[in-house]
């Protein structure tokens, strides 16, 4: 009904992509084994359900959090359909043994940020780590999650994405002069 709306929608065409952010709650690749304390163990049915919602999303780029690396992500985003990009913390934990240490105290939390990118959509994808976000959490002396960055190129247009999983447990506060909110 509006000329204003029509005008903007006619100039918008072709190069539409769908972006998603999805925290997968401690997604492990080992069936029936919780990734860490408090995490749900995953049955075969769980992976199938996640695939069902992957299809429902029908997304080109999915920023992932709480995934135990490309093996786990690949169970939801199969490599013949999606390219996977993961925080190099995943590699570091593997080579230092922190991903597999038998003593849970010595083991890292093994959840990583990353991306699944639908194949064939972009002309180029490059990945970079953002380890600076992995500050040391004083309470346990361990670093928190790194960020994962990708740079996408499509038809000469660039888009930079950063997948983050910031520290939990500190959800709200406003500046001092704020009146008491009604919730």
């Amino acid at each position: 009904m509006l000329a204003f709306t029509l005008l903007t929608s006619t100039t918008a065409a072709s190069a539409t992509i769908k972006l998603v952010a999805w925290n997968l709650n401690n997604l492990h690749f080992v069936v029936d084994e919780p990734l860490r304390d408090g995490a749900p163990s995953r049955s075969e049915e769980d992976y199938q359900l996640l695939q069902k919602y992957r299809d429902r999303l029908d997304a080109d780029v999915i920023a992932l959090q709480e995934v135990n690396g490309p093996r786990a992500a690949g169970l939801v985003f199969p490599p013949d359909q999606y390219d996977l990009y993961f925080s190099a913390r995943y590699i570091e934990d593997l080579v230092t043994g922190k991903a597999t240490h038998l003593d849970p105290e010595q083991r890292s939390d093994r959840i990583y940020t990353g991306f699944a990118v639908r194949r064939g959509v972009f002309d180029a994808v490059s990945k970079r780590d953002v380890p600076s976000l992995g500050v040391i959490h004083a309470a346990d002396g361990r670093p928190v999650r790194w960020g994962t960055e990708i740079l996408l190129e499509k038809d000469g247009q660039l888009l930079r994405l950063l997948s983050v999983h910031l520290k939990s447990g500190c959800t709200t506060a406003a500046w001092r002069t704020r009146p008491t909110p009604t919730v």
């Binding site: 972006l19 952010a21 709650n25 749900p40 004083a138 888009l159 950063l162 447990g169 406003a174």
Partner: protein
């Protein structure tokens, strides 16, 4: 629950989150300088929408630094539906200006799990639901236009084409339709942060300009009312230029949080104005740079036109739908009800104090935040075309 403060935090989780702000800002600064549109997406573990622009995390990253940086987030004004116990979202998509131009905001979705698939206790398929939005990469700014959100003249001509040549009630009706286009409701709590943006002092981004006194005052020194024990005489609050008692007393009513007529004002001047009609007034009131008498209030010459155009907007925007009565300007004392005076004086003020740069900038920022436009700022001639019976001198 701990208070979640990131200012001198004591809670260990908050200490860590507070520490993460610096590297996050550093990443944003670097990305902003590379002129490539960017999106930060994921689990922020922070209920940003609860306090919006005042949230300790959001305010630090959406701080206008580097100069001109402006961040947008989705979801902005809707609750999360993944788990009824946690209506406040903590997963966000955060866009810089360039990326935001590509976003189809209406496409935003939270994809929830079907009840038979979801186990809230186990947290499967996940304890978070995915959030999605579409972007049109072809809609990228070419970098030549520094104010890309300003619609160009052609867009505005198209918007107002249905109103051209009309007069009186017919024009008032068409402007009602135009003024409501794109209006997305802010909560009354979100108004604080919105005013920090819309009424920001152009010479000092840490301050807002207060309506009646024209004073520049720090954004954080907000109080809900003069009755708040934390107030000092310099604090500011949210002034309803169309008094809320005249038609929309409840916070849930759309006009109550419509930032087109909400302004930062000295907390001590706000009650002095009260719910008085606007008109020429008898006594000088120097503390508020205004005049007042028993039945009217007269702001300073510098903002007379601003006040008039805000009220013209309210008259056409609210016509008895959207849960707000039909608001109407009249040329006599209004006393009560959804009425306000004095129309002919306001038309004089509108002519004497035309739209200036600050008002224009404020208007564009309102459009960015709330979505809809004030026709009387875009097309000042519409006022006389509707209310031609006053005979402006």
């Amino acid at each position: 629950m701990h208070d979640g403060s990131l200012e001198n935090p004591t809670d260990p989780d908050c200490v860590t989150l507070a520490t993460q702000r610096a590297p996050l800002e550093a990443w944003i600064d670097e990305a902003a300088q590379q002129l490539v549109p960017f999106v930060i997406l994921g689990d922020f573990n922070r209920r940003i929408n609860r306090f919006g622009q005042d949230d300790h995390l959001w305010r630090e990253i959406d701080d206008g630094d580097p100069t001109g940086l402006d961040l947008w987030r989705l979801p902005f004004d809707r609750e999360a539906e993944c788990n009824p116990s946690f209506p406040q979202p903590i997963d966000f998509l955060v866009f810089d200006d360039r990326a935001w131009q590509m976003v189809d905001e209406a496409s935003f979705r939270e994809i929830t799990y079907d009840p038979e698939d979801q186990d809230l206790e186990r947290g499967t398929p996940s304890d978070h639901c995915p959030i999605a939005v579409t972007l049109d990469l072809g809609a990228a700014d070419d970098g030549e236009d520094d104010e890309p959100s300003d619609p160009d003249t052609t867009d505005l001509d198209l918007l107002y084409a249905p109103a051209e040549g009309l007069e009186g009630e017919e024009l008032r009706g068409v402007l009602h339709e135009i003024a409501m286009q794109g209006h997305s409701r802010l909560s009354y709590a979100e108004v604080w942060g919105a005013l920090d943006f819309t009424d920001e002092d152009p010479d000092n981004p840490g301050n807002v300009i207060l309506l009646y006194t024209g004073r520049s005052h720090p954004k954080p020194d907000k109080v809900s009312s003069v009755l708040n024990p934390n107030h000092d005489n310099d604090s500011w609050n949210r002034e309803h230029v169309w008094p809320k008692s005249h038609g929309f007393p409840s916070e849930g009513q759309l006009a109550h949080s419509d930032i087109h007529h909400l302004r930062p004002a000295d907390v001590t001047c706000n009650p002095d104005r009260g719910n008085l009609d606007f008109d020429e007034s008898e006594f000088a009131h120097p503390d508020c740079a205004s005049r007042r008498d028993a039945d009217s209030f007269e702001p300073s010459d510098a903002v007379k036109g601003d006040v008039a155009r805000m009220l013209f907007y309210m008259d056409v925007r609210y016509a008895g739908d959207d849960g707000v009565p039909d608001l109407a300007l009249i040329d006599e004392d209004s006393r009560s009800g959804p009425l306000l005076g004095h129309l002919c004086t306001l038309l004089d003020w509108h002519e004497a104090d035309p739209v200036d740069d600050f008002e224009r900038r404020r208007h564009e920022r309102i459009v960015e935040t709330q979505g809809n436009r004030n026709p009387f700022i875009d097309r000042p001639q519409f006022a006389m075309a509707i209310w031609s019976t006053c005979g402006v001198n």
